[in-house]
């Protein structure tokens, strides 16, 4: 049985606690029914507040929250048909796994027999049957998460809201439970809204990634778009995987720009300017770390408009499938190249080596 349309629309959503600063500042977003949406941002960016407003645990100062075509502002969580999974899971410590999951049915006045039948089905689905009589204190973190998920899902909500659901788990379990969440979402077929500050978690899980900063949405879209085509420096740096160069434009060519920085002038960078860039503009350029090729300084300049920035190797980290090489290309800023493991070990570099960091024109993008 489908529990009804679970598409969410946030319109001009604002939240202020003190009437002066907005914790959430004019958020507009559409989340289609049955999507897995991740809100990503550092702590204090307002992502949890948005989640709590969708859940009905907090009221927006201004704006509308529309779920399934109906404005739900002012309604109780039950009337919204949303369910929330809390960061610490908030399992009731005095109730067994079975009674925790049955809680929502109990307060709806279902008889013990009736609710236990529904709970047993749910426990089978999330593989908790043999833990039915345990108390939350005697469960592992992963088991607790499954109980919390089952407890929220038993009400057949149309939207499930998850507040940093994986933060209480250790690294290995986090990856396993991530898959579990995705599996549950597919099985239940309902909208999941998930709040996290871990970019890996967001891009691994989400159909839609929403990157937030200071109460505002910076960028939203499919995981790959946000990761590969960040709209600005903030998103690029938050999601990682990109090097960002900034500077003042000195010359504009068809396949390159010449920019200058306080420390270094006349940097020739290959890029197809995908929007109007004028001389004198201050711009940010992004290049993916895995698009950077490192060459020995002795092997000559690469041709064809490619960029070649002389750099010294600051540190090298082995990462298994690739090697992370940290360079001093831009003073005081991170500049990193991901070199495929096999390529790296054909001719390994050492810390202190002087190299050319190169990329071809099509690989760099001008950020907003």
């Amino acid at each position: 049985m489908r529990p009804g349309r679970g598409d969410i629309e946030l319109a001009g959503l604002c939240k202020s606690y003190d009437g002066v600063t907005n914790v959430v500042d004019g958020v507009n977003l559409k989340i289609p029914d049955g999507a897995y949406c991740c809100f990503l941002g550092p702590s204090g960016c307002g992502k949890t507040t948005i989640l709590r407003m969708i859940a009905g645990h907090e009221d927006p100062t201004v704006g509308e929250i529309v779920i399934g075509g109906e404005n739900v502002v002012g309604l109780a969580p039950v009337e919204r048909r949303t369910a929330m999974m809390f960061q610490s899971y908030a399992l009731f410590p005095h109730l067994t796994v079975r009674d925790n999951i049955a809680f929502a049915l109990r307060v709806r006045g279902q008889s013990r027999l009736e609710r236990y039948r529904a709970v047993d089905l749910m426990m089978e689905k999330v593989r908790l049957t043999e833990l039915a009589d345990r108390l939350p204190a005697n469960l592992s973190g992963g088991q607790q998460q499954r109980v919390a998920l089952a407890r929220a899902a038993i009400t057949e909500p149309r939207v499930l809201l998850l507040d940093e659901p994986l933060s209480a788990l250790d690294e290995q379990l986090r990856v396993r439970m991530r898959q579990e969440l995705r599996r549950m979402q597919r099985e239940l077929g309902i909208t999941f809204v998930h709040v996290t500050h871990t970019q890996l978690e967001a891009i691994a899980l989400a159909d839609i990634v929403v990157v937030m900063e200071k109460g505002k949405i910076k960028q939203s879209g499919p995981a790959r778009d946000v990761y590969a085509y960040p709209c600005d420096r903030y998103v690029a740096e938050f999601l990682g995987g990109q090097n960002v160069l900034s500077g003042k434009v000195e010359k504009v060519g068809s396949d390159h720009l010449v920019i200058s920085q306080p420390h270094r002038a006349g940097i020739h960078v290959g890029v197809h300017p995908d929007r109007r860039v004028g001389i004198g503009d201050r711009i940010d350029l992004a290049v993916r770390r895995d698009d950077i090729e490192l060459m020995r300084a002795t092997s000559g300049e690469p041709g064809g408009g490619a960029t070649a920035l002389p750099s010294r190797v600051l540190a090298i980290e082995y990462q298994g499938s690739f090697v992370k090489v940290m360079l001093d290309t831009i003073p005081d800023e991170e500049f990193i190249a991901y070199v495929p493991e096999r390529t790296f070990f054909q001719d390994p570099f050492n810390v202190g080596d002087v190299l050319l960091a190169t990329w071809s024109a099509g690989r760099a993008r001008v950020l907003a």
Binding site: A90, H94, A104, R134
Partner: protein, 297 residues
């Protein structure tokens, strides 16, 4: 040469032995010194009380001092049957009733205060200091004040009005402070989760808040009961014409010169221990049903 080597070797051997057995079996002398101090402390604390309990089991010939003269339950019977020893039965009855009343009010008010004080509200610090004020005010003075107030208002002082109020001025702050400690471990996400799952406010209190706080509430009740049961200073001027048990014991010390006074001490101690035992038993039972030991949380 070898002698020198041997001598050099000695500290090394010693240190190696130390490393192998870092905790020696021998206790330092400070352990014995502190143990002696503690033993003396316990003896000074419980010795006098134990003397009274022992002396209460004498027979008819018994006096107020050692040596013990025979052993029987004579003075316990005497306590509840003889009129000349005072109204022990009546005052005992009143004290229990009063303690139960105080316990219930303390429990309910402390619970609600504990919930209320999780958030700031207008005048919260004022209310808090007012409460601490009544805790540190000298009991006797506070009792006299309440007695005077009742007289001025033309209301007769009695154990269930003025004495009840006087005792609450003592038990409530205690109860609320204990409740603060209990509430510090209460995660408000539990309440939100209950609301999220569709529980009404009352269902949340009944099915989530009270069961989770139960061990703490038992502790508050225990405080209320024992503080009221042996309250003296505040009750002295407020109990009216009928005495509570501590007042009765006090008046007996002035005119009764038989071991029945000691028997009374034994009986009241037993009642206190029963109250404590029941409370601790309840807490242990709750924690065991919850699968957590008293230490783990």
């Amino acid at each position: 040469m070898t002698a020198v080597l041997e001598r050099l070797d000695v500290p090394m051997v010693k240190s190696r032995r130390h490393a192998a057995a870092p905790r020696s079996d021998r206790r330092p002398w400070t352990f014995y010194a502190l143990a002696t101090v503690f033993t003396l402390y316990v003896a000074a604390l419980y010795g006098p009380m134990i003397c009274i309990y022992i002396l209460s089991f004498q027979d008819v010939r018994g006096g107020l001092v050692f040596p013990m003269k025979g052993h029987s339950l004579h003075w316990f019977v005497d306590l509840f049957t003889q009129v000349r020893t005072g109204d022990v039965k009546g005052s005992f009855d009143r004290s229990i009733k009063l303690a139960v009343l105080v316990t219930v009010i303390t429990l309910v008010v402390s619970f609600m205060a504990g919930l209320a004080f999780r958030r700031r509200f207008f005048g919260d610090m004022f209310v808090f200091y007012l409460m601490i004020g009544s805790l540190v005010a000298p009991g006797l003075v506070l009792g006299i004040g309440i007695g005077l107030l009742f007289q001025w208002l033309g209301i007769n002082a009695s154990w269930y009005t003025s004495a009840l109020g006087a005792q609450l001025s003592w038990t409530l702050p205690f109860g609320v402070l204990v409740m603060f400690a209990v509430m510090s471990r209460f995660d408000s996400a539990w309440q939100e989760a209950a609301r999220d799952l569709g529980a009404s406010r009352w269902q949340t209190i009944r099915l989530v808040v009270i069961p989770i706080l139960a061990p703490g509430l038992v502790a508050v009740a225990l405080f209320g009961f024992t503080l009221s049961y042996d309250e003296f200073a505040r009750s002295l001027q407020t109990a009216g014409s009928l005495n509570t048990l501590p007042l009765e014991i006090w008046s007996m010390t002035l005119n009764v010169t038989s071991p029945s006074l000691y028997a009374l001490g034994t009986v009241t101690t037993i009642v206190s221990f029963v109250a404590i035992g029941v409370s601790i038993g309840a807490i242990v039972l709750i924690n065991r049903r919850r699968g957590t030991g008293p230490a783990s949380h």
